[in-house]
Amino acid sequence: MPDLEARLLALGRDLEYPNTPDLAASVGARLARPAVRRFDSRYLAIAAAILIVTIGGLLAFPATRDAIAGFFGLRGVLIERVPSLTTPTASPAGSLAQRLALGRQVSFGEAQAALPYTIAYPQSLGPPDAVFLLQPAERQGVALVWSPRADLPLTAETGVGALLIEFPGKVQPDFFIKMLGPDATLESVRVGGNAGYWISGRPHDFVFLDPHGDPQQDSFRLAGNSLVWNQGTRLIRIESALGKDQTLALANGTH
């Protein structure tokens, strides 16, 4: 018989828990109560942003999401700078996968077979030059890499033209803004009717919510610009040296 600790770990995976409730509406309502009136409009915008993420399923409906965002005035540009973050560590030497911490390299077919969703990528870029399954495997994430070419300039210090990372999750703007660091700017955009964020400069960490609504941390891989957006149940991020309009065009053609 396995030892007690191993049996307890196994038992924990078979426990019955109540379903995680939809917390979005109630948390949003609490934030809108009188205490929130102390905040300035910037915080109200962030309060609206918290409603757009996956604390619950209510906001999966675009009409509801747009209504709440509109109510709080979350339209247009939202830029925040945060002082005193540490400098990102330099990319380590080694293979592309090691340098960028991309996980296990596989063929596109293998990656597709391992994931419960259809991998989306910018059709105008064509199939990626390299495909990686992100670790841990439970994250169900994939990274697609395109080499530099005429329409895809080299991103500084990485040897990569563009990197797309996709996994189930949602962007969590209020926490996510805070973790970007002092040398990044953030602009809210729309990608195919979904909430997105254009990040330029040198961002630090990336915080998102996994499908259970729990915050997770990830780092930006390239020293370039990034576009992050929600597409269906997934969070997609493109990092490259391209400008905003070109990246938005790629994102709008991602399926």
Binding site: L11, R13, D14, Y17, L23, I55, K178, D214, Q217
Partner: protein, 154 residues
């Protein structure tokens, strides 16, 4: 994760929901105190756990944990025989009864370490105990479980 943590501590679904709502709201309002670059998840979990503890204190309620139905049990590999499945189910049920019979603080430390799979440091943060206390209570809880299961060394 946050909801399960709150459920294990607060002891009921409704209290866990309240704890999460209050915890997320407080986390949002306390964002200015979050140290940039620090791990984010334990910070939120600690705030939610604190709310869950407050819920428990005010209601002193306790709900026994239960297992999913037997046909969903993780069996770890090839399909077992019906006899083996029944035996495994009973073993787990017996272990769960032993966990449920522990005093609350012992049950909480077992739940954090093995059911939520938190590290010792995270468990200390979530339960608001010093790390030394986590270790000593965990050791005591495991001894009591072995004793109840008749596995204690002579």
């Amino acid at each position: 994760m946050a909801f399960r943590t709150a459920y294990l501590i607060a002891g009921s679904e409704a209290d866990a929901q309240d704890a999460c709502q209050e915890g997320f709201t407080k986390a949002f309002r306390a964002l200015s105190r979050f140290r940039p670059g620090a791990p984010f998840k334990p910070w939120v979990l600690q705030i939610v756990a604190n709310e869950a503890r407050n819920q428990r204190r005010s209601l002193s309620r306790r709900t026994d944990l239960s297992l999913r139905v037997a046909d969903q049990l993780g069996t770890g590999g090839a399909a077992p025989s019906p006899e083996r499945l029944a035996e495994a189910t009973e073993e787990r049920a017996q272990l769960l009864r032993a966990v449920n019979s522990l005093r609350q603080e012992d049950r909480l430390v077992v739940a954090c370490r093995y059911f939520l799979e938190l590290s010792s440091e995270e468990t200390a943060d979530v339960l608001g105990w010093p790390q030394g206390t986590v270790k000593s209570r965990l050791s005591r809880a495991l001894d009591r479980l072995r004793e109840q299961l008749g596995e204690r060394d002579a």
